[in-house]
């Protein structure tokens, strides 16, 4: 059975629209992911004790497949700013891509405006700390080590260099949560971050951080598609066996 990319995209779009518009079940519970629970707790604590949150969006650009992980990071940035923008130490965003830096600044500026604290926003809250993977990691380290960062969330496209950032977080005693779209990044984050996000969990950030019905619908559509793929894989594996009996 051949499924073309267009058919798969069409099916995903149909599921997304059905779950967004026809079956928007807001009460439906989603399985607990410990990382997001810990992140929420850390955000609340940081607002109380006046420490800083750092959202690292990685080095993935916006002109390729890495952009989806960067968008998941931007969703987290928006939600974290909704909660902590008016705290003593407002959240800081770092990126390794300048287009992503502009989007991060735009996201923060609009959140500050919406919270009617637009005068407290400054473009330096969203920084491009380096433009290659290692220079990005190296530029991010001082922000963690010099400032009173209580949590460092890494959501975006990372490679092995992410270990330098998580090591700095550990040295600073900061909570670290990490998710990447690359396999290398995921493996390193699993070993070095306090709370790693595995596989598609990084794209569930919006649904777990209450970003709206579209994010929950997207998560449900993703679940349906995953089960369909599992079913197809099993059927494909069994088909030679069935053919052998005939």
């Amino acid at each position: 059975m051949n499924v073309s990319p267009l058919e798969l995209i069409g099916l995903a779009l149909a599921l997304l629209l059905i779950y967004s518009l026809l079956l928007p079940d807001a009460r439906r519970t989603i399985r607990s992911i410990k990382a997001f629970g810990e992140l929420r707790r850390t955000i609340e604590l940081s607002v109380e004790d006046g420490s800083r949150l750092q959202i690292n969006l990685g080095g993935g650009g916006l002109l390729g497949p890495d952009s989806a992980a960067a968008f998941a990071g931007l969703t987290l940035l928006r939600q974290v700013n909704n909660i902590a923008a008016d705290s003593d130490q407002p959240p800081v965003a770092t990126t390794g891509d300048t287009l992503l830096m502009l989007l991060a600044q735009d996201t923060m500026r609009h959140t500050y405006s919406r919270l009617t604290i637009g005068d407290q926003y400054h473009p330096r809250l969203g920084q491009a700390t380096g433009l290659t993977s290692f220079s990005y990691a190296a530029g991010t380290l001082p922000l963690i080590l010099e400032r009173s960062v209580s949590a460092s969330a890494l959501i975006g496209s990372y490679g092995e260099e992410v270990a330098l950032i998580t090591a700095a977080s550990q040295q600073a005693g900061a909570f670290s949560l990490g998710g990447s779209n690359t396999l290398n990044g995921q493996a390193v984050l699993f070993g070095s971050a306090q709370e790693p996000l595995i596989g598609e969990e990084v794209f569930a950030t919006g649904a777990y951080m209450d970003s709206g019905a579209a994010h929950r619908a997207s998560l449900r559509a993703q679940d349906v598609l995953r089960w369909l793929i599992i079913l197809l894989l099993i059927l494909t594996a069994l088909s030679p066996l069935v053919a052998g009996f005939q």
Binding site: L6, L16, P65, T107, P123, A128, N181, F190, G191, E200
Partner: protein
């Protein structure tokens, strides 16, 4: 300067561009227009590089003013301006800019790679201290098997690991897990893209 674009207009432009690029991948004859739009995006990315440089300059200039490790920031600013000036003057393939890349940037990144090796070793050692769950144990055991299976250790070859368990874990179990993760990432990427295409998620304009 504060440029503000109304959110509905920004959303309309973003959705129209996204839908067109997607459609052009499936409908023949739209390649030229697609390439032109993608070239505009690349031009904007190049402009964003200049803005990123200004941002970096502003951050480190502020650090110098506030005397927060001013020496490091001063070195960064001087190096950045010098590299920018030289590269703008003689091009990215020029003698001096190539020398800067080969003799300064590459060795610095290589030294960071060396630090990374130590960080990763420490992370592997600390893994079971930080998280004592089943998955961490599986991760640590797999790492141990793959290390033993990667070749002779101190001149001693362990055939059970190098030609038995190691290749099995690496070739079958790891590959299966990797494909599962990649399918999950691909689904997440596709749905994130679709959310943006239908403007349900707008990572621009708030």
């Amino acid at each position: 300067m504060n440029l503000r674009v109304a959110t509905p207009l920004a959303a309309a432009v973003a959705v129209a561009a996204g839908v067109f690029i997607l459609v052009s991948l499936f409908v023949p004859g739209l390649e030229d227009l697609r390439n032109r739009i993608l070239n505009w995006a690349i031009l904007m990315a190049a402009l964003a590089l200049l803005l990123g440089m200004l941002n970096l300059f502003s951050v480190h200039f502020e650090k110098i003013r506030n005397r927060q490790q001013p020496v490091y920031s001063a070195v960064l600013i001087i190096a950045m301006l010098a590299t920018f000036g030289i590269t703008a003057w003689e091009g990215s393939q020029g003698v001096i800019s190539t020398w800067i890349f080969n003799n300064i940037e590459v060795p610095i990144e290589a030294s960071l790679m060396a630090v990374l090796a130590i960080s990763l070793t420490l992370a592997a050692v600390r893994l079971l201290q930080n998280r004592k769950d089943l998955m961490s144990i599986v991760f640590a055991v797999t790492l141990f098997i793959l290390l033993l299976g990667s070749g002779p250790l101190f001149g001693i070859e362990l055939p059970f690991f190098t030609s038995g368990l190691g290749p099995y874990v690496n070739g079958i179990l790891s590959t299966g897990a990797m494909r599962g993760l990649l399918i999950g990432v691909a689904l997440g990427t596709m749905l994130t893209g679709l959310r943006i295409l239908i403007a349900a998620d707008r990572p621009y304009g708030g």
